[in-house]
Symmetry: C2
Subunit: 404 residues, 2 copies
């Protein structure tokens, strides 16, 4: 049995017209194979439901919260099935407990553990198209669970992995670009990208796919691609294993994030255990620290320690660190929130030297000062002044010849 798994995001089912447009895409695929479409809630619906819960409690109890916010996807599936049946396509909407999609026990951020593929194969004997609500499942206590924001991408990849099929994510962009076309109009759509690169790009702000869905596709080696439901004829971006990425550019893409802040603690004692005194309380406060940099001072006894964090958390972090001052034992605390982070990503970096050199040269020539650098096997990230973000991205895009 030939099966395609498609996923349509909120804007692709966000109105009657959008549903009809996406139904045409499903219709087309159904001529060639059986189709399972995983749908999001109509755009805005999940936020509406979340806001309703917040009217009653800042901390809604998890079981009820999941029951409240999971209804939008079921409505999308039912409407899509009605639309398809009206076009004489044998379609059926399913609910996650009917299949079932089994998740871990926790609520609001559950993980998919298994999908009963026999149920889906049986239904596909009688139907050309099945519609499955994304973002949810049931746990072993028989409670409804949700997967966290963007969870529908993960639902789709999990269904594709279970059915050993390809997964195509239809969204409101044409694919993954070498960088943000708003900053670099010449930015190019990437035709093929390695899972690892996509992970670095997505978590850095490419915002096309939920990170967990890419991790899952990588683990299960599921063929994954992104397309626009508004321009379905256009080839999007295929996310695949490194071997399959033929056009193995040294650098695949450049991302940036302006939502960064930096904190520096001066004259921290340079001895074991200090780091945990700093980062322990921050972790407890649910603050994600990103880049960390430590310079030993001249006398060798003290260090200056800098790290970055989301700008939104800056005030909270400062409050925590000031409270812990006597325990940590630093001299001064300095913060800045006018910085941004730029990352250059590419699996080709592994075998090609000189990426860092090109980066330093380009920024130097353009008088852009680098405040912090971190590197990994396939990524170099730098911290610069926020005002220079656009210039830096434009010049780096040119230097790495990404518009070609």
């Amino acid at each position: 049995m030939k099966i395609k798994v498609l996923k349509f995001g909120g804007t692709s089912v966000g109105s009657i017209e959008a549903i009809k447009r996406s139904a045409d895409i499903i219709h087309d695929w159904s001529k060639k194979s059986k189709v399972i479409a995983v749908l999001s809630a109509m755009s805005g619906e999940t936020d509406r439901l979340i806001n309703l819960t917040k009217s009653f409690s800042k901390n809604p109890n998890p079981i009820d919260f999941d029951n409240a916010i999971s209804s939008g996807e079921n409505v999308s599936c039912a409407l899509m099935s009605i639309c398809l049946n009206n076009q004489k396509i044998k379609a059926k909407s399913l609910l996650s407990w009917q299949i079932p999609i089994i998740t871990s026990s926790e609520h609001m951020k559950s993980r998919i553990l298994s999908i009963n593929k026999k149920f889906l194969y049986d239904e596909l004997e009688n139907f050309e198209v099945l519609l499955i609500p994304g973002f949810q499942g049931i746990n072993n206590k028989g409670e409804l669970t949700t997967l966290g924001r963007g969870g529908s991408d993960t639902s789709a990849v999990a269904v594709a992995a279970a059915m050993e099929s390809e997964c195509i994510i239809y969204t409101d962009v044409e694919g993954v670009f070498t960088t943000d076309p708003n900053i670099v109009p010449k930015a190019k759509k990437i035709n093929k990208i390695a899972y690892e690169e996509m992970l670095e790009l997505a978590s850095q702000g490419a915002k096309v796919l939920q990170t967990r869905s890419v991790e899952l596709a990588m683990r299960k080696n599921t063929k994954l691609s992104v397309r626009s439901s508004f321009k379905p004829k256009k080839i999007g971006t295929m996310i695949t294993d490194e071997k399959s990425v033929l056009e193995n550019n040294t650098v695949s893409g450049i991302t940036y994030s302006k939502d960064e802040a930096k904190i520096t603690l001066s004259r921290v004692q340079d001895k074991p255990g200090v780091s945990s005194k700093i980062f322990g309380p921050l972790a407890k406060g649910n603050i994600n620290v990103d880049m960390i940099l430590q310079n030993i001072s001249q006398d060798g006894k003290f260090a200056n320690l800098s790290f970055t964090l989301p700008r939104l958390d800056l005030e909270k972090a400062l409050k925590i660190l000031k409270k812990e001052k006597s325990i940590i034992g630093y001299k001064k605390i300095i913060s800045s929130n006018n910085i941004s982070k730029i990352s250059v990503v590419g699996v080709g970096m592994r075998s090609h030297a000189g990426v860092a050199q090109t980066l330093f040269d380009t920024l130097g020539k353009n008088k852009i000062n680098i405040q912090v650098i971190t590197t990994s096997e396939i990524k170099i990230s730098i911290l610069i002044h926020e005002d220079q973000t656009d210039l830096a991205v434009q010049k780096l895009h040119q230097a790495f010849k990404l518009h070609k």
Copy 2:
């Protein structure tokens, strides 16, 4: 274990304020007993969902239709539970498939077959309040089903019957009145009414309770009452068995319906099989015929046949009957849509003669012409000109001393 089953309709959960007000009622009851509250969707929500389905098909397929329109009740339950938990009441929202509530197999007008009361008793060991979505269940194929408009009343009575508990329906009126207070300002709230009377009143337009819920309560002898969620301190109307209705009035109430039309077929052959030629095609067209009257003509061979039907269906019915003219064999077709129906209801009629006489006298004195009469054991219904509806209801209310 002491248990109360409460039901809150759409307007009683129709806004954040309404949910909070109804939560206070639940809170009060929970001090005295365990509470199971059956909830409707927020007012307007089910219509919104139905309209969405209609954007895609005039005849949506039943499985998908039920999946689409059943989500509103789940949201109400989750929000109510969040609201109660925020007040430190141990509450939990349930989904119909978790219990489960088992229904007959058909969709969009399913009947409840059974409710797993063991599941509910077990949950009540751990929670003070359970919230159950009305209007829905699952069938033996594991599909979600809905019970038809107003089905949440039936859900509540079914839960109360299963738990052998009382059922209190909270709605936006204070109870059942002797007649419409908009027409007769002196109309009185009825404190106790027999199931049979309530059935006649409800199906004739009292619109307080779904007819099926009253039938079910009567069959299971479930104590049922109606109260206002806006004025919860006021005693409403209790619907109970005939024996318990102490104030056994001859007439309990008067209802009217202005949504009526009448069709007369002249010179229909007076022989067996003709009725089915008339009413068969109408039934196929989903037209509910109500009162039927047949007068044999002078020569004894032909009859004039009149019947009433919902005004909305008049055009459709005329079209059907004109198409069937040669098969039925009538001479003329006459219709009127400016008529209304008035019903006088009371279990006391069984033992008290003279109700019909009072009715005729009253209408005669006020020059109100009766077009059609039908009677049952506890009801007399008449058809009059629409313009005289208010006058007739007012004079009859007075004649039967219902304001006392």
